[in-house]
């Protein structure tokens, strides 16, 4: 049902009710007019993007839609068209390389998609055609075909189950590939259809395709020998989804209702919206700056060129005449082409290769996450999963962590702890202590050592055994389901099977929610065994080992709105009983009030201890009552429209006037190292928000257990409870409270700088904020008076000043809403969502970084996440370790790239002042091209993959280090300016150093002189060495790869230069560099200037390194900083501690 809400996000056309009519087996039906075959799409799945024919144009078009590629294409075209100083090859080659590699990659991916499509589309299926069985390729199935599917086959399209080989007209499917739930679900045939499918004449009327996997409304008209057509309602329990697999059933027949791209599976593959990292935004900003530099350089040169040319004799001296064509060209056109030429000459400042390198770095770098064995969880035999490599660095920038509670902070591994029957507490101690397995520990209030009557006990335990949707998994594999696999959610999470091996002869229980299993097993401990279903009869073995059977009449499914579920059973003796279990808030109003008070204390106490509580109630239905309910339910189930609302109304009508029997408490253990992880995250300056669907008390206790709330934390509570206090208008109260809290948390807080607020100082009062879903919606979508926006900003300000915010009773969409609100607030902080269930998907998709936990609640979250980890504790390493390193690496990569291209191009720019602004390149074309591709690209790539400026252990021990890189610290304008100035300084140095040397170009001991190419080569040599050595200086972690790549590329440069200058190249028109490099090396002066300039350019860097010493302490040496040391000594204690010791201390802190 949550998924339905989710899907509402995507498929908005749900409301367009417009049904389609399907003729089963394409047979015309008597009642309808002549068969007009309706047009439906074929059953072909097309996930591929290209065909062989359109690949080239379409792919090229898509690639050049990217700004960077387009820019380089323009530069290339300018080079081709205009007479530019560098040949088109210099920029064409890298561009071609990039485009080709990308095209190959995308082509390969598309080929894989084609292959997979074909596998699905060409799969042979058996179709019944006019009584014959015919083999058809899957893609040829048409809507209306009757399809046969055998065991372990996947359904080729969405089918309505007509016939099953099983006796009980059911079949089992698993939807593992659709939603990740691997339990077997029972689907039912349409009741009362004929066994002979050839003679079946029927039409199906159903809604138009829509993406919700769990919703289907349809109606089947069966025509029999001119009788009045029989109408059968169709629901999701009759629909077999494409992609699901048939299990435990020999074969089934079904009629295709949705095919191909209209199947629910296809409709559900909505693309994730592409997330862009903050680094990418920084890159774009820097690009803009460099683009400005580029344009202004070109403008300056063009202007100066024409100023210079105006002096007599300069434009066209006798020794350097223009061609006729040049003379004829229009002056303004010439100016324009000159401008373009300069642009081309300087365009290397924005290198193509940066994009390639960044992409490669991200792609290759992400492997380290999936390779990390620390992320490997032996339990599920899986490591981390990286779904996108675009966000690696974002992991190092997280400011807000939104975490789910159930399954994320807690294990979602339920254990029955105690129950309370009729006001008396029962805690299961040891199986052998008492005859009946009950042992009373302490009772509430002053009633001690009293048992509730045996009758009540047994009623309670029977209720536990009957009121659920658990299936018994039998060793024989013949697991009869109780009910249709409804999504049972008790705190709003979807369950996978909470399968645990049961004791004794039972194979185990399968249920959609783990606490149902916990309850059934809890009842078992007290002697009531649920034995399973036998054709609509539930069998329960009672304490006397007698088997009782109950006829299951109705299951009133769980849903998060009602927050309860019920069953209606008929006992042997003919009594009709309704058992209901659900959240206290939903049960209490529906039972007699005098019973409530006895139980309420228990429930509240259990909740504060961090247990999940459920109340159990029952009701004896009179015959009239039952008949009324029965007809109501049947009618509602048949409704084609608003079926849910109608069902809900009937449910609510039936579940009234019940009597409360008791309550249960189930413990959900904290995840391993949950507290340490949370503490580390907070220490790293992240704000942790817990978003949960659970009760406030439970969630609060979990927060204490995870040490998100400290004992000293002052809690600001904004919940329904605090709002109704004064019995005034809620909005007034809300406003008042908000203002009050704002005063406390924001205004009264000492006015300190942002950096200090985040700090860990104990002097500051920590605030924790608690809000629940109802209040939140009041805050966010309050009535259209002017206050609403004011509420929101007040709320945000309060939250930003709190270390922890707890949002309970959240609907999935509200979770996303909160994430969105924080994401879009001032300063646009980086948000991270972590969750494990389908109810977290919306927030995972919404946040900058979405993390899925490979928990026990299916794979929905994992598949929609950007990264998936097996356990919560891995988050620490993922963020503090990997994230930090990735961020530092990519930030360094980006800055370095801009820097190295600035000092590459600056000498070329300066040279224009000495060559008459004639666009004469300083470096040879080969150097221009190879600089970014070969000479300087590999070291930085290796560095950005392997660098660990601080090693992983220290980063993880010292959470505060994370703050060093917070707020995009390394890509701010400050560091950018530093790198730019460094580039400018070095560029100036390279050029003018060589310029002064060349005031006498006789640099060899034989008196011979050097020319312009020698000039360029000297500058270039200095450049390559300086830039590489600068990187070497930045490298803090020298592995053999770093050594190999850094010294290797310098050696390669030398080798290449010798090689390039050592041969008269046969197919080149010019041999400018012939022996230039070798001659340069034969000159002592050249050597001396190269060494001098390299040293001088690195000198400021060395100086800074030495002077910037404070980094020392927390660099590599493991000097445990005192704070973290204390944290460590504390941590084991906390994890060993039972869930809550400081239970009630929070109450006193709460402001009411």
């Amino acid at each position: 049902m949550l998924r339905r809400r989710l899907n509402r996000l995507f498929g908005r056309d749900e409301r367009k009710v417009d049904s389609r009519t399907i003729y089963v087996g394409h047979r015309p039906c008597p009642a309808t007019e002549a068969l007009i075959p309706p047009k439906f799409c074929d059953n072909r799945i097309v996930s591929s993007k290209y065909t062989v024919w359109n690949f080239l144009p379409k792919n090229l078009f898509e690639q050049f839609r990217r700004i960077a590629n387009f820019y380089f294409l323009i530069i290339f075209l300018v080079q081709v068209i205009v007479d530019t100083p560098t040949s088109p090859v210099t920029s064409g080659l890298p561009l071609f390389f990039v485009i080709t590699v990308t095209a190959i990659k995308q082509g390969y991916e598309d080929w894989l998609r084609h292959k997979a499509d074909n596998e699905v589309n060409k799969y042979l299926v058996t179709v019944l055609e006019d009584g014959r069985r015919a083999c058809k390729e899957s893609e040829k199935i048409k809507v209306g075909d009757v399809v046969e599917v055998v065991e372990d086959e996947t359904f080729p399209c969405d089918l309505i189950l007509l016939q099953s080989s099983r006796e009980d007209e059911t079949c089992f499917v698993t939807t593992a590939s659709l939603d990740g739930e691997s339990n077997h679900k029972t689907h039912y045939t349409v009741p009362d259809t004929e066994r002979n499918l050839e003679s079946l004449s029927a039409t199906i009327e159903c809604e138009q395709p829509q993406p919700d996997l769990y919703k289907f409304v349809g109606r089947m008209h069966i025509y029999r020998n001119n009788q009045e057509p029989a109408v059968r309602s169709l629901g999701p329990e009759n629909l077999l989804l494409k992609g699901a697999t048939l299990k435990n059933t020999q074969k089934i027949y079904g009629v295709a209702v949705y095919s191909g791209m209209e199947t629910k599976m296809a409709l559900n593959y909505q693309g994730k919206s592409q997330k862009r990292s903050a680094v990418e935004k920084s890159i774009n900003a820097f690009l803009l700056v460099y683009l400005c530099i580029l344009v202004s350089k070109a403008l300056v040169c063009t202007t100066l060129k024409y100023v210079w040319q105006n002096r007599p004799g300069q434009d066209e001296p006798w020794y350097n005449q223009k061609t006729q064509k040049e003379k004829d060209t229009n002056l303004y056109l010439k100016m324009f082409t000159d401008f373009l030429s300069f642009m081309v000459l300087f365009n290397f400042i924005i290198p193509v290769s940066m994009y390639v390198t960044v992409e490669m770095q991200k792609f290759l770098g992400s492997f380290f996450i999936s390779w990390d064995k620390d992320f490997f969880d032996p339990e599920i035999q899986e490591g981390a999963l990286v779904n996108t490599s675009d966000l690696n660095e974002e992991l190092g920038q997280v400011e807000y962590v939104f975490t789910d509670k159930t399954g994320t902070l807690t294990q979602n591994n339920m254990e029955f702890i105690e129950c309370c029957i009729d006001g008396f507490q029962y805690k299961y101690a040891d199986s052998g202590t008492e005859l009946d397995g009950f042992c009373v520990t302490d009772g509430p209030g002053n009633i001690l050592q009293q048992k509730a009557g045996r009758e009540k006990e047994e009623l309670f335990l029977r209720a536990l055994c009957l009121c659920h949707t658990v299936q018994v998994k039998e060793a024989t594999g013949q697991g009869d389901g109780v009910a249709d696999c409804v999504e049972d959610q008790v705190d709003g999470v979807m369950g996978l099977d909470g399968e645990t091996v049961g004791p004794a002869d039972l194979g185990g229980f399968i249920a959609s929610s783990p606490d149902e299993v916990a309850l059934v097993k809890g009842a078992m401990k007290y002697g009531f065994k649920f034995l399973g279903m036998e054709s609509k009869n539930m069998r329960v073995m009672n304490r006397n080992n007698d088997v009782e059977t109950y006829e299951l009449l109705h299951v009133l499914n769980f849903d998060p709105v009602r927050r309860r579920m019920s069953v209606i059973v008929r006992t042997k003796s003919g009594d009709t009983m309704l058992f209901c279990k659900g959240a206290d808030s939903s049960i209490f109003p529906r039972v007699r009030q005098e019973e409530v008070d006895k139980i309420r204390m228990h429930v509240e106490r259990n909740a504060t201890e961090g247990y999940r509580t459920l109340c159990v109630a029952y009701k004896l239905l009179s015959r009239e009552e039952y008949d009324q309910a029965d007809t109501g339910l049947r009618e509602a189930k048949l409704a084609l429209q608003d079926r849910e609302e109608k069902l809900m109304a009937v449910y609510n009508q039936v579940e009234t006037g019940m009597s409360l029997i008791g309550a249960t408490a189930v413990e959900d253990r904290l995840q391993e190292e949950a507290a340490e992880t949370m503490e580390a995250l907070q220490g790293a300056g992240m704000k942790v928000w817990v978003l949960t669907g659970d009760k406030m008390e439970t969630a609060k206790s979990t927060c204490y257990a995870c040490r998100l709330f400290q004992r000293s934390t002052e809690l600001l509570e904004l919940t329904v409870r605090t709002l109704v206090d004064l019995g005034r208008k809620r909005e007034e109260r809300l406003h008042e409270l908000l203002l009050d809290y704002h005063k406390r948390a924001v205004q009264d807080a000492p006015p300190i700088k942002a950096g200090v607020t985040r700090s860990w100082s104990s002097a500051n009062q920590d605030y924790g904020f608690i809000i629940d879903g109802a209040t939140l919606s009041l805050v966010l979508n309050s009535s259209p008076d002017s206050n609403s926006s004011c509420y929101k900003s007040l709320f945000l300000q309060i939250c930003q000043n709190c270390t922890t915010v707890l949002c309970c009773r959240m609907a999935p969409l509200q979770k996303a809403q909160i994430v969105k609100m924080v994401k879009n607030c001032k300063g646009s902080p980086i948000t991270l969502s972590i969750g494990d269930g389908a109810n977290d998907v919306s927030m995972i998709l919404e946040a900058h970084v979405g993390i899925g936990i490979k928990g026990r609640e299916g794979r929905q979250a994992v598949r929609n996440s950007d990264y998936a980890i097996p356990k919560l504790k891995h988050l620490k390493k993922l963020l503090l370790g990997h994230g930090h390193l990735y961020y530092v690496r990519i930030a360094h990569l980006v800055q370095y790239f801009f820097y190295k291209n600035l000092c590459f191009i600056l000498p070329q720019f300066l040279y224009q002042f000495f060559c008459g602004y004639s666009q004469q390149p300083l470096y040879d074309a080969a150097y221009l091209t190879m600089y970014n591709i070969c000479f300087t690209s590999m070291p930085i790539l290796a560095n950005s993959l392997l660098e660990q400026h601080i090693c992983m252990e220290v980063l993880m021990d010292n959470a505060a280090l994370y703050r060093d890189v917070a707020k995009n610290a390394m890509l701010g304008w400050g560091p950018f300016l530093y790198w730019t100035l460094l580039g400018v300084y070095q560029g100036l140095l390279f050029f003018f150093g060589v310029r002064f040397l060349f005031s006498n170009p006789a640099l060899q001991d034989n008196g011979q002189v050097f020319g312009n190419w020698s000039y360029g080569t000297i500058v270039f040599t200095v450049l390559v060495f300086t830039v590489t050595l600068k990187l070497a200086m930045d490298t803090r972690h020298w592995t053999w790869i770093n050594h190999f790549v850094i010294w290797g590329s310098l050696a390669f440069y030398m080798f290449f230069s010798f090689f390039w200058g050592g041969i008269i190249w046969p197919f080149l028109r010019q041999q400018r560099l012939y022996f230039v490099f070798a001659n340069m090396l034969s000159s002592v002066s050249a050597w001396l200037i190269i060494i001098l300039l390299i040293l001088l350019s690195l000198l400021p860097e060395i100086l800074l390194l030495v002077l910037r010493k404070p980094r020392g302490p927390h660099s590599r040496q493991k000097k445990p900083v005192v704070q973290s040391g204390e944290g460590e000594t504390q941590s084991p204690r906390s994890s060993a501690r039972p869930l809550l010791m400081k239970t009630f201390s929070d109450e006193s802190n709460t402001i009411l």
Partner: protein, 373 residues
Amino acid sequence: MASNYNAKEEDGHQPAAIGHGGAGTVKNKKPDNTAFKQQRLPAWQPILTAGTVLPAFFVIGLIFIPIGIGLFVTSNNIKELEVTLTNYSVWLAIFHPCYNCSQSYSWNSTKPCTCSVPFSLDQPFESNVFMYYGLSNFYQNHRRYVKSRDDSQLNGDKASLKSPSKECEPYRTSDEKPIAPCGAIANSLFNDTLELYYIDPNGSRTAIPLVKKGIAWWTDKHVKFRNPGGNDNLTVVFQGTSKPVNWRKSVYELDPSDPDNNGFINEDFIVWMRTAALPTFRKLYRIIHKKPNMTPTLPLGRYILEVTYNYPVRSFEGRKRMILSTISWMGGKNPFLGIAYITVGSVCFFLGIVLLIIHHKYGNRNHSADIRS
């Protein structure tokens, strides 16, 4: 709906077709425990601290300062004399012996203009003396100029000889015949003749022998530049080609006396063809070899430079000069390198001292602070 569906593919991270969603992404293997994959490659982790850098500063200082002093002394010992052939200053230019010649703008003047410039050496030039001509404000590095050549033609390629590269425009053909050597660089070959005479104290002039071999790069002379079809019969080889417009004689008449210095492999030509880096440049013209006996190559005294003034520079406000220079192991006279080395060396040394002081004064305090914490 279909378009909606297609949109999903935009992200490009879809691992496989939708028919196989999920299944392919599940990894069941434990990650390899290799040092590389765990980012635990053994690594050298250098830390630049004052302790390691300080000695480096001193060492650099100690190395650079002597080198700098050596360079500076060497450069100072190099004797260099510049003789201006065209004066900048309009007023003084009138008194220059070559004033009249330099007034001529054109190439076409039939009668060569000669002038003699007297100068004197204050000190004798020992060892080999190198004679350069220098030009100022001559943009040999102008792009249009630099590319206006055909290296295949100069390398002796016969096809290129007949049809030179388009880059040579507008110096590609003349009279419908291909120009050899083509292009602006070749066309503007420096064609002044400089002769040096020593004026004996008694007034007689002794011609100083000027060697024109060894002025070009060896590789240029022997590999990069080649006459088409060997060095014999250049007249035949170059038949069908035209001389560059500004030249008075054909390429095969550059040095008729020496077949190894004629045509494309004429060293004066090769030197010219190596385009200068800056608009003010010098190019090696001749070498005056050391005399076998102990007498200096150029004794002190008066000299006369006989200039056949062909090369107009006035039109582009250029300046022409002749430079006599000795050469050391570091090349020609250039005090810059020495000064630079001394400066950098001193700066390093100074920084070393400053850092040492800082290190001593504050380093200890930091250290103790660390301990306290």
